[in-house]
Subunit: 316 residues, 2 copies
DNA sequence: CTGAAAGCGCTAACAT
DNA sequence: ATGTTAGCGCTTTCAG
């Protein structure tokens, strides 16, 4: 009933050395079937729970994976996609006894990456928003991955392609694309897919640049309507952009999908819900979560009840 | 130019003992101004970067804070609110060299909590979805916080109250509430606020239970319309519910806000955008993020390009 | 294949 | 206030 049986306890009970017990439990290094069995049994008997922190310290490995997001705005860490990703990682590494931390990196990330490489508590790094991987320090070699710049990304060309084909199938022949910003590497694939497919089908190319936001989606739709009034479909490269397009079309009295069909990309949760600009009240989830983390760590913050502010829009 | 100067190096350079250096650097324990200064200088000189993992191992503290969400569905870890919270924590603990991991706990969480308490890699725990804190093991005492059950929550009573007052100001007198499930502690505050305010204002009480989802919002709105046809406002306790209400009203030909005003709660990002059910394509952010985490940790997964599936709804 | 021993980098008594 | 001395729990050469 001691606090927590360690590997030493297990080794003694199994009649082997600490080293052997370690080899068996961690699965690295040789071990005879006999001792393997003995250690297994002993571990089960005393209810051995490994201590990842000790293990990692001994190995010189860190205990957290750092999710570093490069962006102009520090608020990027609250971006829905970033949070989805961070949470997914946090769930993914749980079983390994690791955690993930999230960090915003300004555009000139070189220095930031050096500091990360020097931090021995960092087991590995996941980068996002890094178009070029040239500035990744050597110290990170072998222990980082880059979403969106490393072949590690959604197959947006195929996704957009499937949607464009669908539009063609339902008879649309004058399809416009609201693309991502031209300078963004991640925006090339959808644009390429669009261009290729339109050419193959002998259809006109109608591209208006966007930036993944609803605001630019609104502008883009207006531009499309003005420049090519006979457009019968608009494909946007993000759901947010599509929402903007829809708003713009509604304002112009264009019926969807009879007059103009619209497609987005992402399938964010609300994509399935219609809505009007909603009157509501804020819910400071981030503040509360951060406070909870601090509180759990022992810092007794005074604030326990967080204010909610009404946000009045068009429904009330 | 050695790999990483340790505290020993700093201590030697500062001409003090390891212990003193530790005291200064960690800030715990006494230290004369003189040695404090010496250590500071030495640390800066060699570019000392503390090793949180070693520190925490020596202290017997864990290296991650575990966000444990109790719910019926394992998919709760992808809930937008959960991800927002998890990401916010991950950003909050970054500076401390800690990480956060995310875990789903089934409804009979007792066993799960025991295991968490026994895991020495866990520095602290943040609980969500735990209405009662009776089943929290003693081993977690002093190192956990509970969102929603510990006074650590949004002030929803005030938030809803402000909205209701607004509705009253704009002349609404027959206000219905789509509440949360009756058995949920978190649902009591909004309901209480509503009841109190309606009574004080001498207005009728019209409550229909919901469950925070859009689906129940739709049903609830229909119920309201049938039961109290003269209702001129519907307050929902979540934005998702409000979206459902809006859909239902639109289907019934009720104009918003002229006929019926609607309010939600949460201010989720899309609350400001209108939309029709959108045709789009999936974007498996979670899969990619999890793969990225694994890849960063050295597991060479084969999948690098993740499939996107078209989701056809009403706009195309 | 196995064991003894020397750490990983820092902290915490205890004594001075 | 400071130094000495054991560890934290596990890994890993290096012999045997």
């Amino acid at each position: 009933m001691s606090s927590s049986p360690g590997l030493a306890e297990v080794a003694r009970l199994a009649g082997v050395s600490l080293a052997t017990a370690s080899r068996v439990v961690s699965g690295r290094g040789p071990a005879s079937a006999a001792s393997r069995e003995a250690v297994r049994r002993a571990a089960a008997e005393v209810g051995y729970v490994p201590h990842p922190v000790a293990s990692r310290l001994a190995r010189g490995a860190g205990t957290r994976i750092l999710f570093a997001v490069r962006d102009r705005r520090a608020g990027i860490v609250h971006d829905p996609f970033v949070t989805r990703a961070a949470a997914a990682m946090a769930a993914a590494v749980d079983a390994d006894g690791l955690g993930v931390s999230l960090r915003h990196l300004p555009l000139d990330a070189a220095a930031g990456l050096e500091r990360i490489a020097a931090d021995r508590s960092v087991a590995a790094v996941v980068l996002a928003g890094h178009d070029s991987l040239d500035d990744v320090p050597a110290g990170l070699r072998g222990r980082f991955a880059a979403i969106g710049a490393d072949g590690l990304d959604v197959d947006s060309a195929a996704g957009i392609g499937a949607l464009l084909r669908h539009l063609h199938v339902i008879g649309r022949r004058r399809i416009a694309l609201v693309s991502g910003p031209a300078w963004l590497a991640a925006a090339r694939a959808p644009l390429g897919a669009y261009t290729t497919l339109m050419r193959e089908a002998g259809l006109p190319i109608r591209v208006v640049p966007g930036d993944f936001t609803a605001g630019r989606g609104r502008l883009a739709a207006a531009t499309v309507l003005r420049r090519w009034p006979d457009t019968d479909a608009i494909a946007a490269v993000s759901d947010a952009t599509a929402f903007g397009v829809l708003q713009s079309l509604a304002a112009a009295g264009v019926r969807v999908p009879c007059d103009v069909a619209v497609t987005g990309f992402d399938d964010i949760p609300v994509a399935a819900c219609v809505s009007a600009a909603l009157s509501t009240a804020t819910h400071p989830v981030e503040l509360i979560a951060a406070a909870a983390a601090k509180a759990a760590l022992g810092a007794d913050s005074s604030a326990r009840l967080f204010p909610s502010r009404p946000v009045l829009r068009s429904t009330a």
